[in-house]
Subunit: 459 residues, 2 copies
């Protein structure tokens, strides 16, 4: 029976008659013995296979090349060598799939840029193996966190009617003829399109999520979202996954409490659930990572009003590219200064100017701020953005009119304020930002299996 | 502190000083007492609130209308009434958000058709509350199942290069000018599109999932997939969620073993984790549902070769719209006859004719079948489709040539057979089909929060 290396090692006793299968990472041969590092993707370091001359195909085994798929029957033994507790003593080794020396992942360092061009093979490297194991564990942990808290998981739609705000950043979804779309007076006739109207890819599941929160009290979404922004930075991708919880009968303080519990849970989960990977990141990707993530795992993040944050930034002697004044949409430089220099750890900034925030955020009594919050973390800056939502129909409609947002396409959203409305709040977490924060990886392209960015849609 | 009704009832002891918040489902008043059924979406039946004349706002409470959001402070007491174990004795009732009598969900039965037109409100009904709680529990159970088995969760891309097979069913994703796309010799110039090429929405994450299985051994995807098919049936949606596990070093029998374990796990999970909802479905949606799902929860599904299935269908006296002969792509009528009449439970059909299956399926030695499998279940027919994949590069390339599939756009896929190839297998489960199977709901539009079908993209 095939066992995965991770499970074999977790067992921690000598096994009889078991087999492991995986890919050869390296081979070292002496006169009478060959040492193979076998990796099956279930852990980082793989397992050392010891093959002796008594194997029928020992000469063949000694010529095995990096990347070859093999199956080994044998038993787990305590290793006499230093640096590892266990080794696997081979009784038979079957060669399943060769990799000749044209296999691109030979034993040498490759640049991340090059590895992106072979995104279908890079999961077989140590770094990307660790990144995608961490990503998977975190995604599963997110579901576990909300399941334990009895939040309902809702799949909000990916294809949405495209005539809401921000259509400039929407990808259009269509089945119209690409070369000769039907026109009426020079304008595209979307009534002939698949959905009978202009449609695009969602930028957020929040509005639909709110509808479910107003039926199930506590819900979350976790799905892909899209931005057709032509920005080529290390932090932006055209397709990324977002987590968006929403709570009925909750205000901004409840929202920050949830975000804090959520982030500390995920930090702890990474440190405890992926110790081998986290140690690897600390050693090879970012020195001090374990300490930084450890601080993220402690509760009691600071909380500061936006106005105070502006004051503190003005009083600091730091120089910024964007000058600081009340009303400023905080840039990453300000966000990082706030959490890294002023607070020394994660910090919530609360109650932003309404002019720089979305129409659905709840208006504060001061008339100039809304009940918005961002969670800023060292190195990354904003990792979570949320708000209490405006539950008062008249104030919401007035704000939409002020901002020039048409009410008719959102009449269903307004309905939720018409019947049984209640205070509610939620936030969004860019999942890739979280993976970057916890792993220390600098480029969003390196934490997404097959990244989509402007002019890049390979695989 | 706010408690959810479900947690309050699960506690099962009299509580002091707790509050519940939710929406009023019904109100019944006597001279000195009002009975309110309050639902917060955490369970099906809600909780009965008992409010007496001692409440300061008792007259107001007696005028509360269906759909109103309220907050109640009080305590849980054993109920003297029959039909319920507990009731909640109100000390204060605060009205949070009114619903006047224009609220569409008054106490009467509505057709599913009508409720689809208010998909933003229908989660507040008993039926859709139950459906979406079940859907959420199942989605979380899927992650739990694979997490327990140490499968890696991979987010395969949603936007994919659109020049592979089956492009006719692809939604196009674009940012080109909708009225005047750039043309070269009358053909659209996709080099000017956002990704520099023609792109569409994914129909399956399998091919990318295979790349990850060949690095991590055991993986799964769980994400949205799309079909731009103009079919208006109760079983087809344009956007739906799919689960696709993939295992390296595995063959077709391993694949069926996993599918069987998976389906029985989910059936048990539904029956044990959602007893109130499942009883409701059995009573109101499909008589006999509990018994049918109970059979799905038992292991040891039958397995039958396609050729035998054809023989058995031919020997049966049933009449079919599509005549039965070897080579037939089984229709739902055949699938249901096989599992409902011939086997009397779930059955795997194995080894289909290669002509009706995809290029990537492993060719059997008989030269005319491939190592494909479908799992058929009563009422629904096919619920899972899978196969062992062709891991032999030469045979895969030959088959692609035979089928007229261009190799160049799939060179990355072929790479996986070039270096370290190995036997591997996987399957796909349409998540909505599973929810329909377990709940007895007949129309896929009624198990998706905001369904997308031809000409329908509301909300």
């Amino acid at each position: 029976m095939r066992m995965r290396v991770r499970e074999l090692l977790a067992g921690g006793t000598a096994h009889q008659c078991c087999s492991v299968s995986g890919w050869v990472r390296s081979l070292r041969t002496l006169k009478d013995v060959a040492f193979i590092v076998l990796n099956d993707g279930s852990n980082l370091s793989g397992i050392q296979i010891v093959a002796g001359r008594e194997l029928g195909n020992f000469p063949e085994v000694c010529r095995i090349t990096t990347g070859t798929a093999i199956r080994v029957e044998g038993e787990l033994l305590e290793s006499p060598a230093t640096g590892q507790q266990w080794e696997f003593s081979a009784k038979t080794i079957s060669l399943i799939g060769y990799a000749d020396d044209s296999f691109p992942l030979q034993k040498k360092r490759h640049s991340y840029e090059y590895l992106r061009s072979i995104a279908h093979l890079r999961p077989r490297t140590n770094t990307f193996g660790a990144v995608f194991r961490l990503r998977s564990k975190l995604a599963q942990a997110i579901h576990r966190f909300f399941a334990e808290k009895n939040f309902l998981y809702v799949h909000t739609p990916i294809i949405t009617a495209g005539d809401c705000e921000g259509a400039g950043e929407l990808f259009r979804v269509t089945t119209l003829d690409a070369s000769a779309p039907p026109l009426i007076k020079g304008q595209p006739d979307f009534s002939q399109d698949f959905f009978g109207q202009r449609t695009g890819l969602t930028v957020s599941g929040q509005l639909e999520g709110e509808m479910f929160a107003l039926a199930f009290s506590d819900i979350y979404t976790f799905g892909p979202t899209f931005r057709a922004e032509n920005s080529n930075t290390a932090r932006h991708a055209s397709e990324f996954w977002m987590v968006e919880p929403e709570m009925a009968f909750a205000d901004l303080a409840d929202d920050a409490d949830l975000a804090e519990e959520f982030i500390t849970y995920l930090c702890r989960y990474a440190l405890e659930g992926c110790p081998e990977e986290m140690a690897f990141f600390d050693r090879h990707i970012e020195n001090g990572l374990l300490e930084r993530d450890g601080r993220g795992a402690e509760a009691a993040f600071a909380r500061m009003d936006y106005s105070e944050a502006i004051d503190r930034l003005l009083r600091s002697n730091a120089r910024f590219s964007y000058p600081v004044e009340w009303g400023l949409d905080l840039q990453t430089e300000h966000e990082r200064h706030l959490c890294e220099q002023i607070v020394g750890g994660p910090v919530f900034i609360l109650n932003y100017p309404k002019e720089i925030k979305a129409f659905y955020m709840r208006q504060n009594e001061d008339g100039r701020t809304v009940a918005a919050m961002d969670l800023l973390v060292p190195k990354v800056g904003e990792i979570i953005g949320g708000s209490q939502r405006e539950e008062r129909l008249d104030l919401l409609e007035t704000r939409m009119t002020e901002m020039g947002i048409s009410q008719e396409p959102l009449s269903w959203y307004l309905d939720s304020r018409r019947w049984g409305s209640c205070p509610h709040a939620g936030f969004g977490l860019g999942f890739e930002r979280l993976v970057m924060y916890l792993s220390g990886m600098d480029n969003i392209r390196d934490v997404i299996p097959f990244p989509r960015t402007p002019r890049h849609c390979e695989f």
